[in-house]
Symmetry: C4
Subunit: 496 residues, 4 copies
Amino acid sequence: MTNQTLLTVEEIRKHNTPEDCWIVVDGNVWDITDFAPQHPGGGQIIWKHAGRDATTSYSEIHAPSVLSSNLDPSKLKGAVDSSTITDEWQKPPPKLTTKLKLHDKPDLYSLINAQDFEDVAESTISKKTWAFYSSAATDCMTRSKNREYFSKLWFRPRLLRKVGNVSTKTTILGHDVGVPFFVSPAAMAKMIHPEGEKGIARGCSDLRVPQCISNNASFPVHEIVPAVPKEKNHPFFFQLYVNREREKSEALLRHVAAQGIDTIFVTVDGPVQGKREADERVKVDEGLITPMSGQSTKNDRQGGGIGRIMGNYIDPNFTWDDFAWVREHWKGKIVVKGIQSWQDAKKCADLGMEGVLLGNHGGRNLDTSPPAILILLECQRNCPEIFSQLEIFVDGGIRRGTDILKCLCLGATAVGIGRPFLYALNYGEEGVRHFNDIMRQELEVAMALVGITDLAQCEARFVSTAELDAMVGVGEEHPYASGKRLRGRMSERAQL
Amino acid sequence: MTNQTLLTVEEIRKHNTPEDCWIVVDGNVWDITDFAPQHPGGGQIIWKHAGRDATTSYSEIHAPSVLSSNLDPSKLKGAVDSSTITDEWQKPPPKLTTKLKLHDKPDLYSLINAQDFEDVAESTISKKTWAFYSSAATDCMTRSKNREYFSKLWFRPRLLRKVGNVSTKTTILGHDVGVPFFVSPAAMAKMIHPEGEKGIARGCSDLRVPQCISNNASFPVHEIVPAVPKEKNHPFFFQLYVNREREKSEALLRHVAAQGIDTIFVTVDGPVQGKREADERVKVDEGLITPMSGQSTKNDRQGGGIGRIMGNYIDPNFTWDDFAWVREHWKGKIVVKGIQSWQDAKKCADLGMEGVLLGNHGGRNLDTSPPAILILLECQRNCPEIFSQLEIFVDGGIRRGTDILKCLCLGATAVGIGRPFLYALNYGEEGVRHFNDIMRQELEVAMALVGITDLAQCEARFVSTAELDAMVGVGEEHPYASGKRLRGRMSERAQL
Amino acid sequence: MTNQTLLTVEEIRKHNTPEDCWIVVDGNVWDITDFAPQHPGGGQIIWKHAGRDATTSYSEIHAPSVLSSNLDPSKLKGAVDSSTITDEWQKPPPKLTTKLKLHDKPDLYSLINAQDFEDVAESTISKKTWAFYSSAATDCMTRSKNREYFSKLWFRPRLLRKVGNVSTKTTILGHDVGVPFFVSPAAMAKMIHPEGEKGIARGCSDLRVPQCISNNASFPVHEIVPAVPKEKNHPFFFQLYVNREREKSEALLRHVAAQGIDTIFVTVDGPVQGKREADERVKVDEGLITPMSGQSTKNDRQGGGIGRIMGNYIDPNFTWDDFAWVREHWKGKIVVKGIQSWQDAKKCADLGMEGVLLGNHGGRNLDTSPPAILILLECQRNCPEIFSQLEIFVDGGIRRGTDILKCLCLGATAVGIGRPFLYALNYGEEGVRHFNDIMRQELEVAMALVGITDLAQCEARFVSTAELDAMVGVGEEHPYASGKRLRGRMSERAQL
Amino acid sequence: MTNQTLLTVEEIRKHNTPEDCWIVVDGNVWDITDFAPQHPGGGQIIWKHAGRDATTSYSEIHAPSVLSSNLDPSKLKGAVDSSTITDEWQKPPPKLTTKLKLHDKPDLYSLINAQDFEDVAESTISKKTWAFYSSAATDCMTRSKNREYFSKLWFRPRLLRKVGNVSTKTTILGHDVGVPFFVSPAAMAKMIHPEGEKGIARGCSDLRVPQCISNNASFPVHEIVPAVPKEKNHPFFFQLYVNREREKSEALLRHVAAQGIDTIFVTVDGPVQGKREADERVKVDEGLITPMSGQSTKNDRQGGGIGRIMGNYIDPNFTWDDFAWVREHWKGKIVVKGIQSWQDAKKCADLGMEGVLLGNHGGRNLDTSPPAILILLECQRNCPEIFSQLEIFVDGGIRRGTDILKCLCLGATAVGIGRPFLYALNYGEEGVRHFNDIMRQELEVAMALVGITDLAQCEARFVSTAELDAMVGVGEEHPYASGKRLRGRMSERAQL
């Protein structure tokens, strides 16, 4: 190999774009422009070395001869003139941890269910985004049981009931909607797609799927709401985390109301943030911000947990009494989000709330908190009267039209869906629209096969709860003594 | 290598049969006739390139040197005369997706149970046929629980009862039969074997296993019935999907009756088609037809789901009242197929049906619809009187003689077996006959070991249902309120 | 390579022993004497080709160059003089399927529990022996639940009870024994070790573990009994399968009594043989015989199932009444083996049997017959009086000292252990002795930790049966109608 | 290769340190100094052969050419002068089985939960240490159920309860502590880290986590206690195994009291040692000693089980009555450790003990003894009064803050944690401190999310025990007869 043109570092670094990409490996300079897009590991991992020395990264993965035996000799542009190397040039390239695509996404319409979107996300989005979105508290028991418990409910279909014309329309909190589900608030949608929450809004507008905007959204509410043309009168809700500095919440509520939003979901199941280990284990790109809560990502000794770091402003001392303050600053409807016991659900009804969302934060806060469907059954058992006093919502683990139908048969007005909307946004607004269509179609088929044509026909008798009934608590009863422990008290002899 | 005879495309394309097969790879022309049958990937994948340029397909799988190092130099016939290449010749060969055999089938008699037939089918039939036959609705919970729940029933054998002479004979819907099972209707048997439903008929004739011919069979009924000599008086039933255009169903029923068939199974659990994802994910060869329903396969944006596409003619608005119309156009016996609740089963008895088939369409329509055995137990609990009013059949997940015996002990007259007959047909009529023998032998052994010699001795006390009893619903009771939800209604404050 | 001495077939075949072993591969003659013992696949597979042409077997496994590149050139003795090849010489060597060792056995004393013996057997004995010994009926549910259900019983240990001196001695059917278990009859022990049942006898003599000799033993009883010196008065029992030709059984019983045996176990749970698929799938070496039943192995179209083929002589029409005939020809004690319901157990007591063995033939006959421990609990529930009327034994799935202790706490006199003794015999008599020691030690430790020192202290309160109680049948009750089916009867309309 | 300098053994053995390391393989002498630290199997396995013949070890792992093809020819220093070889030189190097590090430990602060510490230990500590620490009795059912059963308890959180200020402080046996858990006694901490129990003490001092020193500790109590400065008044307890030679225990108790310790845990669930198979299977370095029990490790024919060998001194005949002797020689508090039934727990209360530790020795003694949480529930059911009579502790399987909180809600004063402290000690005192911080933080978060701020607010109503209730025994009741077996008695006929 005598093609030993010496090239200066100044020259090499000019070729630092995907369109004109040189890299240095072991002193040799290669023009990798044509090859990079076909790189099995993705082009991006090459492009970040464009115009630089890639020897270290290269050597971790490849044998020395891979380049010379795969590239045409003409791609070897020469050798580095080592006398021109500078410290700056030798520095490793900037970390791009959250931008790196691992695989190409398959065609959107080859995805046919919620799990497909999740699988594609797992293999195509950055490690950090996946960690933040998918993670749940400690051993992730609640996250997995949220889903699993739906499969413990068997349908009891009734046949021959003229199901040629099925409608999934209903009303949620006074809004006419095309389907009995809405977007549960989930933070920082821009991490997966630049359209962020605006893309979700657009993808939801055809079916009129209400979007509950996260307090920790990537965009402020006044940028999200206009994403759908005003004449569509799209239903938006707003999720409120009550701020330790109340005046900030007050200002935010004023701002939200000014956008025409008439309902807030006050999240109450996160007074402190759960320990999401997958999220902690992956470093975060520092400096991402959530405009409405004014937080910014950073890493600390505990790890890179976005949820933990970004939730610092939430007031852990917010109590039932403080709802008077909420009512003072918010004249619209209020839904309490994250209720996990029939007692608290009943309290919401007694306090005149317009709705309650039964759920456990997708299993992200307290592990082994009860699966969502158990909370719903518990309310049916202990305070059935509340089902005519306020609207009952459920979220956590809903991935199928059959899951939705089961919740509605057991008394829910509608259900919330969280993570799947983020995974659908991986394809932008069109992905969200396709995901909504899938869920609507699944629900339609399930309704027809169970034997109903309108959601008003949902009844508990269409579902067998036998496998879960023994798990559902009744009243305050339990067979164990309480508050009688001798914690830390000594028997007399021990005092000697 | 100087054997560079130049060959014209015209010459090359003459060698385009399995018996005389040349292919071109990287410009070289190889005589692959002798090698193709031993090709680890099957001969067919080579033969479809016979007389053509196979470079693209070849390169996806093989290293460049595989041919030259495995074939005798004499097989290299020369090089393509590139001046003779035409556009037409370069076109890829026709798709043969559904015909491709992956592996050779093992000897038929080395297969000794239903699962063996399924395993062989999975590895030897086309991806599409496998997808269509094996698929079930969404998460396939019902398909798997259909089988699993049989293993939750323990026998309670009684010993020392003179079981040297066991008979599996019985009567089904007035027909003397050799075994208490029949072929459940399953569509498009020709996809797995050219004999299609005719092969099933022939393979069933010795044991007099009744065949319920699918409305979506690959052959019309007047071709299937004569497959068994008339003097054998073989029992056939016909499955009816009621057509949106009733006159088509009427004509079909007249035609069926004219073939001497005296019983129809009216399938009622598919007013709309379930979402069978495995089926959707594999493209179908377009233009396959089902002669009696007049449908034709095609692909659309949702996928290649045969079940969905071919079921369009089925009337979703068919109701209980419409059975009057059925009786008007059908003077024979009627079995209602797909019943999933004791209430609907009782309705069949009340309406004077001759039989009811409890089942869930093999889990293909509504996922988490109840496993077949649960429906049977539910009928025993809630309406035991119907067991003396009409014949009760069960299908879904039956794979063993013990499964059959359990159903009969719990009150079934006979059971239906669906997919396994298709998988047996992989070996044509002989495969079906062998499969029937296997099932009969398994049943005989089970009867002897439980302590009975005749199916009339089947009694519930031979089976412990303890593991399932808690799952069996009683009456309409359930612990949850119903129809009390406030779906879409606003509380007063919310109206503000 | 010019070492082309031509060798005649006559010369080659002289080198046909492990000590002097030549083989022919692709016409070349190799001296493989030194290499064979180190052959990764075992020497035996080479030795069976000693003095012959091994090309076919060799080529199935190895690339052509393996020999030449691994052996010293001096091992190439020459080439076959092809003019001397005879038909006889070219015949494949005799099948040795059941003798083939796959791996070397580890040191006996490195095995420390029953599972170790099973694991070693699986990897060191012939495929056929493993298939025959380990197989069970169809899906092997009962075989696996036999073991699994023991782990559903929790101990309730009581502490501080002076357990320094624990004794495992007890009395079984009038014999003083060292441990409360015995060798359950299992067929054809010689398949795993030439000592066969004699080795078991010798390995059991120190602890006085009773051996119940199989009717299908590899040796006749008069060869097994003398394997232990007469002065040891070792306890032997005999298993009887009642022969279709009663006079053969009568002669056998006379012969057994003449050997001094005072107890027979009459096996009643195998009137026909279960379908053991693993056994069927592996061909058997034909011509192995069981001297006492006079059967001989062979293969047929169903497969090579030893159990099925060798059990043909068993009378399926033997009934309770026939025990009069047994008593007439047997003056000793009688235990009925294979009882699976409390009703049949009670019948044994009513008929004055001396014992009953609750079990399901190790899951080898009827799959989904009840796990052994369930039968025991069912007897406790429904006929506790029989526990003082006859001795109750249990077998099936016992692998641990804790399993034994649980059975005894729940009322068993002793337990039978079957397959593990065969696997222990893999090491001959010493293996059996070591296995007995292991089981005794495990039992001792379990007794001490539960809080007892003598088996007479076993009580049901030391075991929690909570996880199984719901599975235990009470009386004849079950919630389902019985004998009310309309199997094969037509409703009136259907008669039209 | 002509670099055949002959080297004497005397010369070679000089190069016997990691800094200057020669080894001999197949007669060749290699300088392996530079390579050893990069050895994929770790440097240590090479260094132990430094200056010696490593042929045997080398050949077990590597092909002959590995050295010559990976090392620079200059590293071949010559050949052994075989005339200088001595017997001593040829001896295998000293066994270092317990010192061998397999992988480098990750950064301590990248470990974020108890499982992380366990995983790191498994891959970084010696096989033997891992086997001894992690092993449990026979099939390890109890060890795994100890953990699994915690996930069968669901929380019933109550929200909006002002949880901004959570305290984990409490009092254990009269000592103010920072968290409601303590170090359960576990033997021989020095096997994982030279600081041993002293490191645990130091790492526990900040949070005032009480340390219960094992009777089989690697250091004597008078070396462990001073590891924390006296002014910290750190809480230590002492575990007593009562010695067969009572005077040794008496002396030990005097010595313990002299160190200022006021509480002993008398372990009563190990009158004999359980069969820990993983521990038996790995040979132990002989001669390790436990100074307070005076035992020393060795291997015997049963294996290398440290637990079995080192526990020989424990008196299996110690009974309830002997507590009078304990009180005579110990004037402080007494906790009885290892109680597994409500009856024995109640007995402790009746005898005036200060505490009882419910548990099963981490599943190390009797397999299928009940999971720890079941014993706690059983006490709640049957003798709730004892919760105000003595302090109740639980250990076994506690790995999460949620586990701790569940135990406290169900009545425990505090919980013990055993193995995790050993795994944390892998990082010395700092590891222990970090582990304590993790557990405290997890507990804090769980408390806040359940809705309490102080451990005094723990109540049974915060936990649903529904999945376990059916497993909890009530009284002495069980449905089975007891003590009625006819073990070893013959029916009359049998006496003939």
